[in-house]
Symmetry: C2
Subunit: 185 residues, 2 copies
Amino acid sequence: MKILGLSGSLRAASLNSAFLRMAAAHAPDGVMLVVDPAPGRLPLFNADLDAAPPDEVRRFRSAVAQADALVIASPEYAHGISGVMKNAVDWLVGDPRFVAKPIALVNTSPRAHLAQVALAETLRTMSARAVEDASVSVDLLGSGLDLSDVSQATDVRAAVDRMFVALAHACFPSMSVEHPDLPLT
Amino acid sequence: MKILGLSGSLRAASLNSAFLRMAAAHAPDGVMLVVDPAPGRLPLFNADLDAAPPDEVRRFRSAVAQADALVIASPEYAHGISGVMKNAVDWLVGDPRFVAKPIALVNTSPRAHLAQVALAETLRTMSARAVEDASVSVDLLGSGLDLSDVSQATDVRAAVDRMFVALAHACFPSMSVEHPDLPLT
């Protein structure tokens, strides 16, 4: 199972990016999560280029198409989706390969929720499939954790495990996901 | 009175850009509307660069600061703000010169309204001042007008005039705006 991770924040110390890196490092056997730097590399969306897009857009669309599922971890800026993430999503509108794609929406700052709601609405409009059980909230902002500590936090690891199990179930209902840290209750 | 126009669409035949060009051409005496190409030129927002931003960001912030008001005409993509426009706005978050800036939000496709609502919420969060009387809806998408016809449509011209009068009043309550096409009723 191949999962593509997308962060909506470009800052080096982004909690969203840290979450994705940590999740990638702790993916269960048989699951690979690759964090794609595309959101920070894509050009600004221009509908005139939609049919014959620049190389980076073509590569991004192909990576999304080939992934069994996406994990989107994106911050809230001024009560809205980050422009970086919305721009990446805008390039996927109308791509038939995006339809029904299972997506986990991760919120690393649960006090903010408007951007999550708006992003879920956009993805629903695009006929993607936000997987509710895989859409975890972990309060990394409020945790005061150093980025290197994130993977040591039991609740964060448990949330990551829940996310993978739910995504795997969404992609392959009959698949058994093995993971040493998998919460059994 | 100096007004900065920002379009959230980069396509050449954008109705939002067409509206802004038309408004610029029909600004009343004493009012200058300049359409700023910044939304299509800004880099993707990165909080790490916020304090010492690239030249284009610096120029954009300065142009916004020097404008008495803004006119934002932006499309709705998949029930959300265009990434292009949100990215431009993200670069203004926290700029004290943006606080209380009068803004007209133009909707050229009134059947869509979620992006307008989301953008208004973001601007409110940033303590800008969306001027309700200046925020006009003109159904350019449904009008079937050729772009060159836009300025010939009486209702569109009337909406533009209303917008300028309301913005002028918001900026300078005692200012008298003279315009041959100004609706007097």
